[in-house]
Structures are given as structure tokens and as C-alpha cells.
């Protein structure tokens, strides 16, 4: 529909109408095909980012007043104890849940890759939590984590451990979210599994002939071969976990005593319940800066530990 009216690019003689050079026609076709994205880019990203940056330099609710305050919001944020609390909580969640999810998903994928019977069944069970909505997850875990009759504490009791109060406790509310995060790491597992199954068996055979133990094969063949998948999962998880919101919003409203206040929940509270749009925008930009720094750091480090097959041919 977009460009069906366009003459074919290398047709020898354009019949009628537009007489464009092949290059110009390709330019036109290219921009017509990518038009939805270009609109998205200009309006919902470029314009919105500029506006967001502008708004972050103001105090405004967009109804009664707009006041330019320069870096005022950022300065205020630096002295805002709640903001630091939210930043600390979110960092805590990220630093624990990302490595745990990445490793746990890899472990499951490695086990599933051992030519096990019932692969389809296991894959299904491990994958299911990750396709269920955040709302459903929050609803069920609210009761799983109940200190008195929740499954988790009853299970711990069965092996002689007195479970904590989880989401009702300042120390254990975030660890509870981290457990939920690992439970939902099945998406990562699926990607690892795909990566593992893509490793040519010839590599393992060669390693065996060289006398490599299974442990050695894991370190010298498996890990390097799936390192691009690890990188992909790592970056995705980092970006996602800095934006943790629904668990806090639905299960604890940031409590107890702000122990689960996260950056996006704080942003939401400031922007959409108190209508401090300038302040909320400033939080968003700091969040962006953090995500960017972490992504770039991981990408930089990847030269040292990610192996791309193409490099073999150098």
C-alpha cells in the first residue's frame, strides 16, 4: 500500500509520471517503507526527548504554572533522601537479580541440553513464569510470600528454617523481589538453549580427541560459544531491572518504610500522583544516564569475554 504505486527501481524505462533517477527512486522507496519508524523517531523519540529534557529544567504541573528553574530539579534530587533510597534499592535489585537470573537460566539450559527425556515438558515449566503478566505474578506471589500461610515459609519450615516476613520486612522485601525475578528468568533460558543447540558437535568431538575433560569442554567450548547470548541476556536484563516497577507498585507500594521504593515507582509517584512533571522528568534522565553507563560498560567489557565465531577467520 505504501509504495505499490512506485515504479520498479531498475525497470529499464519508467513509463509515465515521475521521472526519477534509480537512486532517487530508491531514496523515496526507502523512506516510504520506513515511514512508520521515521514518524516514531521524530515525534515519540526525538521531539519527546527534547521536550523531556526541557521539562526537567522546569517546575510545572502543566495546568497552573510553568517555571524555569535551570538545574534546580537535579540539585534538589541530589539532596532528596527518598531519591537516593530509590536509587540504592534499584541498584541493589539489579546487582543481585541480574547475575542470579543470568546464571540460573544458564544452569537450567545446560541441564536441559544434556539430551534429557521430557525436554518439552521441562522447557514449558521453566518458561511459563516468564510469559505470565506482571499483574498475575504479583497477585500470586503476594500469597506465596505470606509470612504465616505462604508456601515459601511453609516450605522453609519443613526443612527447619524460620522464614522472614518477606514483603512486610524492610530487609527481606527486596530479596523477595529478587527471588521473583529469578523465577521469571525463563526467557533467558530459552535463548541459551537455542544458543547451546547451535554449537557444532564437531567442536566437542575435537575437544574429546585432545583429551579435554567435560569440565574443560565447558570452559573452552560451551562458554565461549554462547558468550554472545550471555551478553545479549545480560544487557536486556540490566535495562529491564533498572526499570522494575510493577512488583513494588502492586505488592508493597514501595514499603515497608520505602524499602522497595524503586526509581520508576518514585518517578510515577512524582509525575502521576503529585504532578511534579519537571521533577519526574529529571528522575527519568538520571535513570537513562545510569542505564546508558551500565550498557556501555558491559559492551566495552565484552571485547574481553565475548567470542564471535567470525573472529576465527582472522
Amino acid at each position: 500500500m505504501n509504495s505499490s504505486a512506485l515504479p520498479a527501481a531498475t525497470e529499464p524505462r519508467p513509463r509515465r509520471g515521475l521521472r526519477l533517477s534509480p537512486g532517487a527512486r530508491d531514496n523515496l522507496a526507502g523512506y516510504l517503507f520506513t515511514l512508520p519508524w521515521m514518524i516514531h523517531l521524530v515525534v515519540l523519540i526525538a521531539f519527546a526527548m527534547l521536550a523531556s529534557l526541557g521539562i526537567s529544567f522546569t517546575k510545572t504541573d502543566f495546568l497552573t504554572h510553568v517555571e524555569f528553574v535551570g538545574f534546580g530539579n537535579y540539585v534538589d534530587l541530589m539532596g532528596d533522601k527518598l531519591f537516593w533510597k530509590a536509587l540504592g534499592n534499584t541498584a541493589y535489585y539489579t546487582f543481585l537479580s541480574v547475575p542470579l537470573s543470568v546464571m540460573f537460566a544458564l544452569l537450567i539450559a545446560l541441564l536441559l541440553n544434556q539430551k534429557v527425556k521430557g525436554l518439552g515438558f521441562f522447557r514449558l515449566v521453566y518458561y511459563t513464569p516468564s510469559i505470565v503478566s506482571g499483574v498475575a505474578v504479583a497477585i500470586v506471589w503476594q500469597y506465596v510470600l505470606n509470612p504465616r500461610y505462604g508456601m515459601l515459609n511453609l516450605g522453609l519450615k519443613a526443612i527447619g528454617i524460620q522464614g522472614p516476613k518477606w514483603i512486610f520486612s524492610q530487609e527481606w522485601a527486596m530479596p523477595a523481589f529478587i527471588i521473583m525475578g529469578v523465577w521469571g528468568a525463563g526467557g533467558n533460558m530459552l535463548l541459551y538453549l537455542a544458543g547451546l543447540q547451535g554449537i557444532p558437535t564437531a567442536l566437542y568431538e575435537a575437544a574429546k580427541i585432545d583429551g579435554a575433560s567435560s569440565w574443560r569442554q565447558f570452559w573452552s567450548v560451551t562458554l565461549p560459544m554462547i558468550s554472545p547470548t550471555i551478553l545479549f541476556n545480560l544487557i536486556n536484563n540490566i535495562i529491564g531491572s533498572w526499570q522494575i516497577f510493577s512488583q513494588s507498585y502492586l505488592m508493597t507500594q514501595g514499603g515497608p518504610n520505602n524499602a522497595t521504593l524503586t526509581m520508576v515507582l518514585y518517578l510515577y509517584n512524582k509525575g502521576f500522583t503529585q504532578f511534579h512533571f519537571g521533577y519526574a522528568s529529571a528522575i527519568a534522565w538520571i535513570l537513562f544516564a545510569i542505564v546508558l553507563v551500565f550498557t556501555v560498560l558491559v559492551l566495552r567489557s565484552s571485547d574481553a569475554w565475548v567470542f564471535y565465531e567470525g573472529e576465527l577467520r582472522k
Binding site: A8, L28, P36, L124, I131, V132, W183, A194
Partner: protein, 294 residues
Amino acid sequence: MTEIASTNLHVGTRHEISDRVMHILGRVLIYALLAFGAFLFAVPFLWMLSTSLKAKNLVSEVPIVWIPPQLVWENYVTPWQFMPYATWYRNTILLTASNTIGTLIATSLVAFGFARIKFWGRNVHFLILLATMMLPGQVTLIPTYLLWSRLKVINTFWPLMIPQWLTAGYDVFLLRQFFATIPKEMDDAARIDGCGWFGIFWRIVLPMSKPALGVLAITNFTWNWNNFFEPLIYLNSTEKFTVALGLTLFQGRFHREIPGLMAMTLISMIPVLITFYISQRYFIQGIVISGIKG
């Protein structure tokens, strides 16, 4: 001497036996670990199922009553009567269907543009697209919200639909990677047969990309069905709610109706679960083909 040789032989077979024992032990360990993990992963769902069929007073019973003495099927019926679940399902289905179809059409056009047509500035634009994948949605959230509120479409479905129809960087990237694997010689052959760019797109590239389009459809279907944040921001009257929002409202209003809540939560999960279970093989194949290594 011969004695030593025979001992060596003996040791050899013993090694073989111990190897086999180790192998069997290893297999047992693998299955035990997998089964234990699977149990931990599945048990919250089993609890949901069990609770959804319980009488209210049995929910907080210790130890857990896994099989209720009487199955209370009304838990699956009564919530529909005191909450507008039918409306919420209609809204969710409408949003999910329109967004999934819209995304598929728009994304395939855009991805084709990036994969096949050499237009001025293409590479720069593709780099920008990759960079936007790192941008947290919160950065653009407030201006976007204000834009929609200027256009007076808050509490309608437009803010939830239009951005979806304008594609997302991640989807475009995925599909472009797939399109790029289709040999370009096919384009030239089609062109000799008189196809323009749209003809190549429609007759050559799309029919060959069904697995990748399937992956895109499933992920977008799931994402839209489960989406919570945007509906929370943009929808504020009950009759506009989606199922995900409705569930939180239900939980807030009737916090003692845990069996009913579990029943409704289970029902809300069914469409996504069925879609995945039916398309599991297809979906996994798609992931492999789309090649995240790209």
C-alpha cells in the same frame, strides 16, 4: 610381566565400569535437579489452581489444603457478576488484536526498508534505531503523556494503539536480521519479472519470513495482553480498563475474595499460555532463525 599386563587390563575394565556408574549417577543427578527445579517453578501455579477451587475460609489454613474437600466452582462464576470482566476482556482483545496486526504490518514494511533498500542515510538511521533500544520508556513518557492530553485522548485507547502501529526498534531489528538472511539474488530475479520494491516485499520476502513473523506476532500478542504500565497511565475509568488493570482493581476492592481472584487471574493467563503451548516448536525455531547473534 604378564601379571602386570593382566592387572592393567583388569584396571581398565574396572575403569569402564566406574565410568558407567558415574554416567548413570550423573544422569540421576541431572533429572533430580531438573525435577526439583520444575517443582519449585510450577508450585505457585498449582497453589493458584487449588486456591481458586477452595472455600474462602480454607485459604489461610496451615498446612495448605491442596485438594479442597469440596470444589467451589462458583469462584469462577461470581466475579463476572460483580465486576465488568466481560468489558475488560473486550477491551483487552480489541487492543491486543489491533496492536498485534498493526505492529506486524508496520514492522515488516520498515524492516524491509532497512534490510533491502539502499536509501540515503540508511546506515545512520539503523544505528539510531539500535541506540533507541537502550532508551528507557520513562524518558519520553511525560512529554508523550502531555501530548496525548493536549489532544484530549486520555482515557481512550489511542495512546495505547498509535505508538504500537509506529513500530518499535527491537521488533524492527529482529525482523531486519531475518530479512537480511534471504538471498538478494531473489530480488533481482523478481525485478526481471517486473516486480517493484513492493512486489519484492510482498511476493518474495514476506512469504519466506513466516517463522520470524510468527515470533513477532506471539511476542507482541503476549506483551499487549500482559501490558500494565501504559494502561495504568492512560486509562482511568473502569469501563475502559484492561484485564490486567481490572484484576488489580478487583484485588483492591475485594481483598478477602482470594479464591475468586485466583480464578480470575488463572483465566486471564489462559490465552497467552495456549498461544505459547500451541506454537512452542514454531516459536523456538523462530528464535533460532532470527539469530540474536546477528
